[in-house]
């Protein structure tokens, strides 16, 4: 057996080191180290509760709005406040904008450039992949960046700026859209749709969103001449990406985008393991056995504390190990779409579980489902009606905010005592996906997904490992925070 330490692992947001045990040309065990600790949960203690809105977006520059949104929901929960309807819609638009921009960033900047590596130069698709996705140079990357920047102009109109807005408030949004600005936003969304349909899909979003089976996707691909998604499908088939990176096949979603009161969320909350289960939030625990943090026992986040202990024996990451009723779960776009019942992804997961291929397809499908919703939400905004309801915080209160960042389920748990934050616990998407082992020695989702990954004789940074790691769209700055 040989041991390989892979790092710095780039094109993931933040800092990551992966240790691999290798035998007979395959990974036999993996240990994932989130190698940066900043201590936001310590920083927040003692602060005025509303100051969380300044601090938590700065946990992460790529999930910034998702962090804001979770904090605003936790504070609203503590206040017993229901946001103004316009504010709810504006917050949905802002979060959806971040999620879709992140999906695009992941596909073009983080994930696809690995197929433009010289190691693949003998493949039939290589010259196309190199032309579109070569890091810092590919025509696809160069086309995506201005399209993304233009799409993020939505933030300029609805949130002041991105990242790190303070517009999302417990009672709604501090930015009341004016009637004429609705038209500007509509044009902006339509322009982004047009870019996606031309460059990424080579087809109408609705045609992709409607793909309901493996056969339908294959038939669609056979008719496509253009589009980066089509190129991905060709590469995925050739490299058998569907055989890479299967984790636990238990999928968690907190659900996203609250709809009008009583209607629930556009993508509902739940757990999918071949069957749909209701989410039991009280069954969430964090275990610090293998983290350089004090304690170890699995605790619900309302009980948990975060204190660094850098010399702890047996620890190998700053990341805690979240578990749901003792289970290791995977979260992300695939989980959201499985819980939401998207038929193509349900079929793919039933046949091959979660894997590199399915995770990418899920993000693409999600883009095609969310943008038309954004166009619909925009029409529901009513300038002139309130965007933000004022609320007041009790001196003693608790609150929780559960949202979906692009890369999965994000939860905030807040306790207020004597008008100050007594404790604030955060479980981020990649905390779930990239957790270390727990007290029972059970590896986290990525650690399981890496077992069996092929490693070539001379590979110091194995490509299959890179595809698997990046398929989760990890955000390491959120992971430990």
């Amino acid at each position: 057996m040989t041991r390989l330490i892979v790092g710095p692992f780039n094109r993931v947001e933040g800092d990551l080191e992966v240790t691999l045990d290798i035998a007979a040309g395959a990974v036999t065990a993996a240990f994932v180290n989130a190698s940066l600790y900043r201590g936001f949960e310590q920083i927040l203690q003692g602060k005025t509760p509303l100051d969380a809105l300044v601090f938590v977006p700065r946990i992460c520059g790529i999930c910034s709005v998702a962090q804001s949104s979770a904090a605003a929901q936790a504070l609203a929960d503590a206040m017993g406040l229901v946001p103004a309807n316009n504010g709810r819609i504006a917050a949905n638009l802002v979060l959806a904008c971040e999620n879709l921009a992140d999906h695009l960033t992941h596909f073009y900047l983080f994930f696809m450039p690995d197929f433009a590596r010289a190691a693949y130069r003998d493949r039939a698709w290589y010259s196309a992949a190199e032309e579109r996705f070569k890091a810092l140079n590919g025509s696809g990357i160069k086309a995506m960046l201005p399209a993304r920047a233009d799409f993020l102009h939505l933030m300029g109109l609805l949130a002041g700026k991105w990242p790190h807005t303070l517009a999302l408030q417990p009672g709604g949004s501090s930015r009341a859209l004016q009637a004429a600005e609705k038209i500007r936003l509509l044009m902006l969304l339509r322009e982004f749709r047009s870019w996606l349909e031309k460059n990424l899909f080579g087809d109408l979003l609705e045609n992709v969103a409607g793909l309901a089976s493996r056969q339908a996707l294959e038939d669609w691909r056979a008719t496509q001449r253009a589009g980066d998604f089509r190129l991905f499908l060709e590469i995925a088939e050739d490299l058998q990406l569907e055989q890479l990176g299967r984790a636990t096949d238990v999928f968690l979603s907190y659900g996203n985008f609250p709809q009008a009161e009583g209607v629930g969320r556009l993508f509902p909350a739940g757990v999918w393991d071949g069957k749909l289960h209701a989410l039991d939030e009280l069954a969430i625990v964090e275990d610090a056995t293998c983290a350089w943090l004090n304690g170890g026992a699995a605790l619900h986040p309302t009980q948990g504390l975060t204190l660094p202990l850098s010399d702890k024996a047996g620890a190998y990451s700053w990341c805690k190990a979240p578990r749901l009723a003792g289970r290791v779960v995977e979260t992300g776009a695939l989980a959201r779409q499985l819980v939401a019942g998207q038929p193509l992804l349900r079929m793919l997961a039933a046949e091959q579980g979660g894997n590199v291929y399915a995770r990418i397809v899920a993000r693409m499908i999600e883009i095609t489902r969310v943008l038309p919703e954004m166009e619909r939400w925009l029409r529901e905004l009513k300038p002139g009606a309130p965007f933000c309801f004022p609320g007041s915080l009790p001196e003693e209160a608790e609150g929780r905010g559960l949202v979906e960042a692009a890369r999965g389920s994000l939860g905030h748990w807040l306790q207020i005592r004597h008008g100050r934050i007594q404790n604030y616990q955060i479980i981020a998407p990649t905390t779930w996906n990239f957790s270390p082992r727990d007290a029972a020695g059970t590896p986290g989702a990525l650690e399981q997904a890496l077992v069996g990954a092929p490693v070539g004789d001379k590979e110091a940074t194995p490509l299959a490992v890179q595809h698997i790691v990046r398929s989760f769209d990890p955000c390491m700055v959120c992971t430990v925070h």
Binding site: V6, P8, F9, N10, R11, E13, G14, E17, N33, S35, L36, R38, Q42, I43, Q45, G46, L50, D51, L53, F55, R58, I59, C60, G61, I62, S64, T105, A135, L136, K142, L145, P146, A149, D150, L152, M155, G156, L157, L158, G160, K161, W162, P163, H164, L166, A167, G171, G172, R175, A176, Q178, P308, S310, P386, F387, C388, P390, A460, T461, V477
Partner: protein, 338 residues
């Protein structure tokens, strides 16, 4: 010029913001200026040992390092060990890497307020003993020390902000690359090492709420249109940046987003000593008035302007959309042709 970009105790948001630059081709803009990106954690192909080869070559002086950009605070803890951030794959603390590489670089840029001062990462109990490259909060020093200079003779260039505006970074990089047009030097930095082209401006300039400010017609709650200074914690009259003349994400800024300027380019902004969204007052008068105006004059002018506030301004200040529109001036009609 070879550029190396590393991230430490921050959120990565400055890199994400840079990618929002309103250029048609960001990488072409940089390469056109002669800037060659050796490695960037979010953008480069090289991972693991491939990336380490680049870092080692710079460290050993085999690869010229012209511009070193550091994003994120430098984490000295626990107990001076730097263990809170070990550079993956190297078993060495990031602060050791940054100290050595800074010694090789012609120019060192702190990208964002974390790298400049410590920023949000150093807030509260500062769990990681975070500091900036050459400042620890407002005090000179930081990781590299108060007298440190790069090979060019300049101290650390503090492109402060949380996050940075993409234009602040692009303009600085391209200015450094075009020494023949504008020899970027010590005179281009303000007293805190920030590029003066944006740090000699005030956020207040160009604020859409300026008419409300003139009449002290103030917002009372989130989403109100009025001035955010009197009640909502806004520091735009003191904050050094051009956020309302160089807009964000097309047409935005904090003020245009309906929330206070929190003075994020300033050392120590993360611990203002009051809740961010409330203006502290003494005897009903906001503390922290404009820095270059006598307080008595300000109070006198405020009283006068409040009494002269037009109904339009007064009523719109506490609404989230214009309730009273500007009056149309009555005229005698078109002059008749003879």
């Amino acid at each position: 010029m070879n550029l190396l970009w590393l991230q430490s105790g921050g959120c990565g948001g400055c890199s994400m913001s840079l990618l929002c630059a309103d250029t048609r081709d960001l990488f072409a803009t940089l390469s056109d200026a002669g800037i060659n990106i050796l490695w960037h954690p979010a953008l480069s192909e090289a991972s693991g040992v491939e990336a380490l080869e680049v870092l080692h070559a710079c460290d050993e002086g085999k690869l010229p390092l012209d511009i070193l950009c550091i994003e994120g605070a430098l984490l000295r803890g626990p107990n001076g060990s730097g263990r809170f951030h070990m550079l993956a794959g190297t078993a060495q603390p990031m602060i050791a890497w940054v100290s050595r590489l800074a010694g090789r670089a012609s120019f060192v840029l702190a990208i964002g307020s974390c790298a400049a001062w410590g920023g949000v990462t150093s807030a509260g109990v500062n769990p990681t003993d975070a500091c900036g490259l050459q400042y620890d909060g407002a005090a000179l020093g930081g990781l590299l020390g108060s007298s440190w200079c790069s090979a060019s003779g300049l101290p650390v260039i503090n492109v402060a902000g949380c996050p940075i505006h993409p234009g602040w970074v692009l303009d600085t990089l391209v200015a450094l690359a075009h020494a023949e047009i504008n020899d970027f030097g010590a005179a281009d930095l303000d007293g805190l090492g920030r590029p003066r082209f944006y740090a000699d401006q005030l956020v207040h300039t160009g604020c859409l709420r300026n008419e409300f400010y003139e009449f002290k017609a103030s917002a009372e709650k989130a989403s109100d249109l009025g001035c955010l200074m009197e009640n909502m914690g806004c520091k735009g009259t003191q904050a050094h940046a051009d956020c309302n003349t160089r807009l964000w994400n097309g047409s935005g800024s904090c003020l245009r987003g309906g929330y206070a300027c929190i003075n994020c380019t300033e050392p120590g902004f993360e611990e203002p000593g009051h809740p961010f969204a409330n203006t502290p007052k003494v005897a009903g008068i906001p503390i922290g008035l404009p820095t270059d105006m006598p307080k008595a004059w300000f109070v006198a002018l405020a009283a006068l302007s409040k009494s002269a506030t037009p109904r339009r301004v007064r009523e719109n200040a506490t609404a989230d959309h214009q309730r009273v529109t500007p009056a149309i001036r009555k005229s005698a009609g078109k002059p008749k042709l003879k």
